[in-house]
Subunit: 356 residues, 2 copies
């Protein structure tokens, strides 16, 4: 049994505009540290996964960027989706090819654009998940909630299934979609609800068996591409992929199977879903400001500033996001950072696609 | 009797940082329209003043910029102060040279960095002032206050001295320095207090007579430079100017003489003392935003944005100033725009003189 990694690097970058653009999405940016989020994601599991066992799923506009950051990636392990179809087709494609190469493979599947502050703790959790995935179980990583977030899905835990030295694996009672605030508060108070991180561990064969049961059309459509070369994969997917259901692995498979289990993790996870979320994972100054670039801050607090190319002076500014790029500047109230995509809609309507 | 203009163009640019810099102060910027404030000031009186009767007082760091904007200016009429000594030495120097050239001259003295929205109304007011200045009277332009500004000095009016078709000239009871808020409110309520605009009209001989009485050391120190060439003026002032008292014409002369009178003006005057003051003199959109450059504004109001070189997107931002330049970006609460100079102090302390 060997561990493989599937890195999901197909996300678009609308919420980190103007730093992120269509061809430069969040995972290709160094938002939290010197390395890009993609590189950090790879480095996180590299101590446990051989380089030839990394499979990265991305799209055409990011293919070059991914290839430059991971030049050692085997060409046939860089899977290029012609169109985004959420996580189910992406993970079935990766598992199909991995199982063909290694019938005994165990896969850890990770989004390329999350932040994890404690990589060692993550790897300890990963080892517990691998132990629990020995069989048919599909393991999801649940995060102990830090507050009543309404933007995440939750995993409701049932009884413990397995206990390692450091981690407990639970049966999943059910998945809960993004709750309203009162429900989220009840989840956090109840104690047996975890944030659904979107990080998974499973045996390739177990996952494909579950997928064949619940999403047979996806498994059948992608089966012919189990062993074809990178070039033939691209041309083959071009004709099939757009017709696949646009569905997440959670909704399409995990919520429909009893084989799913959850390992409880605490390793400083964030999906950094917006500029304001960066403030949670980066070191801030005494006034709660998080910044990249040279700053002068007077009577200002709680700001997120990303302006590596020039000096930024803030005077009497609180809880704002300031992002400077050569052709666009964003100034945004922190509590509206989720709405940045509305700006992109305006730009699209104006025909300023050069700024998207 | 011929009309001469003295343009005071020696101000530093701290309050419009980062657009204004040491060598590019406010009067050399096109803050309100296509032309610079200096050019607008010249254009305002050009219908009444021959070009060879313009005298501009500036400093070494702005000399080149002024020369480029006013290439027709006679070299001996561009007076370069080696160091700033407020308005009294500046206006005595100008009057000394003007009187030597034209003993019967009447001078209108204007700061180069004010905004006047209605030039025609200003010129009508100027004509009334010229009529009232025929003799010993020193005329100051008083502005009907629009609100209880605490940043301006006020002129307290006494009885009317002279009435033209459109304007009344009053005897000045006294000058009042920048008041506190309650006092300013009382001034506005009283009705006989005007903002002291810093624009003046006087005969050269009358002004120099008053100056000789109240600031004899300045008149004597500058008398030798009445007729020297531009080159000899520069070298001469280099040795004398720094020793002159640093004093305004208001404090040094006008407040000490009974010959002072005030013409009441309403011509859309502003000294645009800060970025926030621009909002009063520029056309704003329906949400009270004033801007230069392409903008996307969502849920934002009352902002001043100066960013000609890139798109600026504001989301949930109210009453802020945003100024983008190639090497520095300012984001500032509008009600703290007066404190921008504190940023320059920080930069100076850091040794970032390149940004001043």
């Amino acid at each position: 049994m060997a561990l493989w990694a599937t890195i999901m690097a197909g996300g678009s970058g609308t919420r980190f505009w103007p730093r992120s653009r269509k061809s430069m999405p969040k995972q290709l940016l160094a938002l939290a540290g010197e390395a890009t989020l993609l590189e950090q994601t790879v480095a996180r599991v590299l101590p446990l996964v051989e380089r030839e066992r990394f499979v990265v799923v991305t799209n055409a506009s990011q293919q070059q960027g991914v290839g430059e950051l991971l030049p050692w990636l085997k060409p046939e392990n860089l899977l290029v989706e012609p169109v985004g179809r959420n996580t189910a087709p992406c993970l079935v494609l990766a598992a199909t090819r991995i199982q063909a190469a290694d019938p005994d493979a165990v896969i850890v599947a990770l989004p390329a654009d999350h932040v994890i502050l404690d990589d060692a703790a993550f790897r300890r959790c990963l080892k517990a998940a691998i132990a629990a995935a020995d069989g048919e179980r599909l393991i999801t990583f649940g995060i102990v909630p830090r507050y009543a977030e309404t933007g995440y899905g939750y995993v409701e835990l049932a009884e413990p299934l397995q206990q390692s030295e450091s981690h407990t694996v639970y049966r999943v009672a059910r998945f809960r979609e993004k709750p309203d605030r009162a429900t989220a508060q009840a989840f956090v108070a109840a104690g047996n609800f975890l944030w659904n991180s979107g990080i998974f561990v499973w045996r390739a064969d177990a996952f494909l068996t579950a997928a064949r049961t619940h999403l047979p059309e996806i498994v059948e459509a992608l089966a012919p591409y189990a062993t074809v070369t990178a070039g033939r994969l691209v041309s083959g997917l071009m004709f099939r992929y757009a017709d696949l259901p646009d569905i997440s692995v959670d909704v399409g498979i995990l919520e429909r199977t009893t084989a799913v289990a959850c390992v409880k993790g605490e390793f400083g996870w964030s999906d950094v879903g917006s500029w304001s979320a960066l403030a949670e994972v980066l070191q801030s100054d005494a006034d709660g400001n998080v910044s990249r670039g040279e700053l002068v801050m007077l009577a200002s607090s709680g700001n997120v500033v990303d302006a590596p190319d020039k000096l930024v002076a803030l005077l009497g500014i609180h809880d704002c996001v300031v992002v400077d790029t050569p052709d666009a500047l964003l100034v945004c109230a922190k509590d509206r950072a989720q709405e940045v995509r509305q700006i992109l809609e305006v730009l699209r309507a104006r025909g300023r696609t050069d700024l998207l």
